[in-house]
């Protein structure tokens, strides 16, 4: 039986990844609505309302970045301050959603046109995955990719102007969930949680 699901995410990259993970993992879950796209503050703000809605049968999958928090369990506690209803699936990318991109070594190395060995084996231990992607792009053999992903000199932004669009096309065309979950503990856990997930 199919279940209508709300997806709550921080930004367009987590949206694209989450959609791919959900459809590959549990075809019964139909994403009908996407909320958020305004960073972690929005999700933190709305988690109590979404948990309340979960009690009333509204199923939500939320994907957030761990960022500087100690561990996913602590983040959950800090945000919700109470019991999480099983209809609210809260998954945390350690430390940022970009780690899940880095976890697909083959895919990302080919896309960025860099040697595969440059990406660390255990991606959940990378302190700043977003910065790492930008730094890897600096070494890219494709100059257009460098321009798209790396901020121009003097820019206060940490990423290039086409960062999102560029990585979205990677997620859409090249990123493989199954290659990636072998190297990311947090993604692998998300995979199993969604596979087991049966809303009440």
């Amino acid at each position: 039986m199919t279940v209508t699901v709300t997806l709550a995410i921080e930004d367009v990259l987590s949206e694209a990844i989450a959609k791919k993970v959900v459809s590959a993992t549990n075809p019964d879950l139909i994403i009908d609505q996407v909320i958020g796209n305004q960073g972690f503050g929005y999700l933190k703000n709305k988690i109590r309302a979404l948990n309340h809605a979960a009690h009333n049968g509204v199923v939500t999958i939320m994907v957030a970045d761990l960022d500087d928090a100690e561990c996913p369990a602590r983040l959950r506690e800090e945000w919700l301050k109470g019991e999480m209803h099983p209809n609210l699936v809260f998954r945390v990318a350690v430390r940022e959603i970009e780690a899940w991109l880095l976890a697909d070594h083959e895919g990302l190395a080919d896309f960025l046109s860099i040697p595969r060995g440059r990406i660390p084996q255990v991606v959940d231990e990378i302190p700043n995955p977003k910065q790492l992607i930008v730094n890897l792009a600096r070494r890219s053999r494709k100059s257009w990719l460098k321009k798209a992903l790396v901020p121009s000199n003097g820019s206060s932004s940490s990423v290039g102007a086409e960062y999102n669009n560029c990585l979205l096309s990677f997620i859409r065309d090249d990123w493989s969930l199954h290659r990636a979950r072998a190297r990311s503990e947090s993604l692998n856990r998300a995979f199993f949680a969604l596979q087991r997930f049966r809303p009440s």
Binding site: Q33, V34, I35, N37, A49, L50, A53, V58
Partner: protein, 384 residues
């Protein structure tokens, strides 16, 4: 009085639609989903009801004729029909109902023919067309009873209600550069210059009082503004608004409307129409050019205006603004969400799930705007 229900057939991109409305209605939908076309129904009825200078034929030809008006997804049925219910308030019984159907003559001069027209008062039908007179005389079918003083005597209240509809979509450039743009003026529609004429037509006493109110409200948004003044050009007779801005040289800071910022002009227009008139008010994307902090005030400004109005005044607006819809007090029943597919535009009612989410503490913007994002929220790419 307010419009509580609207039923459309073959109107622009609505092949078939039924819409319930309350004191405030926020129309949302992706680009080109028909938000403005929906507002245009009410403007159309106003134009038909205008009588002199209006009427069915003019209202249709002003919109480019039947081919532009009739839904592209309409199949064999050549008729456009509009049915509208009016009541004293949102949950009150229907007081008036008006039905108008029309189509192209289908031969010769391709005149616009009334195929059906009827008015109900308190559920009782006052008349129904076509009647025996229409059978005798074809030419009668080119006019509605709504537009003729000798046929609309029994439902004049409804006629005046339609005539009192106001539409605002102020385009600052039209107001600032009317000569350069050489645009022909559209009567009654304050897109631009018409707005200043609207101000000019207002009796001096009311105009001054309103400008004082607007001035003090505007000062919060435009802190340098000191004074707002209306003046008619002595030579050309053109109406103008002047604003005094704080300046180190006294009296050097007077500016005319063509020097106002786009945001100031749009805000001025919005405030003016909120204070002006007591009929249905149609606003096209009132958030344009405005700072989010000001947009956040729009719903409560509207509510305040409705509270102060002598008669119950309805506001229907189109919007893309998240800030506007997330304001407390915006209810899920006030939002009209338009959804498009190959069969044209549908009006989507909120689902049980949407209502539960709002009841759980999410805002209408959280729940409904996420559904009017372009499919998949995909990024745009021009170079693939």
């Amino acid at each position: 009085m307010i419009i509580t229900k609207l039923v459309l057939k073959n109107w622009r991109n609505f092949r078939s639609a039924s819409i319930s409305l309350r004191d405030r209605a926020f129309i949302i939908g992706v680009n080109a989903s028909g938000k403005s076309n929906l507002l245009d129904v009410f403007r159309f009825l106003r134009d038909v009801a205008k009588g002199a200078g209006g009427g069915l034929e003019k209202a249709v030809s002003d919109r480019g004729g039947m081919t532009k008006l009739r839904s592209l997804s309409a199949r064999k049925d050549p008729e456009i029909s509009i049915e509208i219910s009016v009541a004293e308030g949102a949950d009150m019984p229907e007081k008036w109902r008006y039905l108008l159907g029309f189509k192209s003559e289908g031969k010769g001069k391709q005149r616009v023919f009334v195929t059906q027209e009827a008015v109900w008062r308190d559920g009782k039908r006052l008349f129904a067309r076509p009647d025996e007179f229409d059978e005798d005389d074809d030419a009668r079918r080119t006019q509605t009873y709504l537009q003729q003083v000798n046929t609309n005597k029994d439902f004049r209240e409804l006629v005046e209600f339609f005539q009192g509809i106001t539409y605002l979509h102020l385009v600052p450039q039209l107001l600032k550069y009317p000569e350069q743009l050489g645009s022909s003026r559209i009567e009654d529609d304050p897109f631009g210059q018409g707005f200043l004429e609207r101000v000019a037509r207002t009796p001096k006493k009311f105009r001054e009082a309103r400008l004082r109110k607007i001035e003090s409200a505007l000062r919060i948004c435009v802190p340098q503004l000191k004074e707002l003044r209306f003046q008619q050009d002595e030579i050309t007779g053109y109406p103008h608004l002047h604003a005094l801005y704080e300046h180190w040289r006294p009296n050097a800071g007077w500016q005319r409307e063509d020097q106002f910022s786009d945001g100031t002009l749009r805000l001025l227009g919005l405030m003016w129409v909120l204070l002006d008139g007591d009929g249905l008010l149609l606003l096209e994307e009132p958030e344009l050019s405005l700072n989010d902090a000001i947009v956040a005030n729009i719903p409560s400004l509207i509510a305040r205006m409705q509270r102060e109005a002598k008669y119950r005044r309805q506001v229907i607006l189109t919007t893309h603004s998240e800030v506007l819809l997330r304001q407390p007090g915006v209810g899920i029943g006030e939002v009209v969400r338009l959804v498009t597919n190959s069969e044209g535009t549908r009006v989507e009612e909120p689902t049980e799930r949407d209502k539960k989410m709002v009841a759980s503490g999410l805002t209408v913007a959280d729940v409904l705007l996420s559904k009017v994002r372009p499919q998949g929220g995909q990024q745009m790419d021009l170079w693939k």
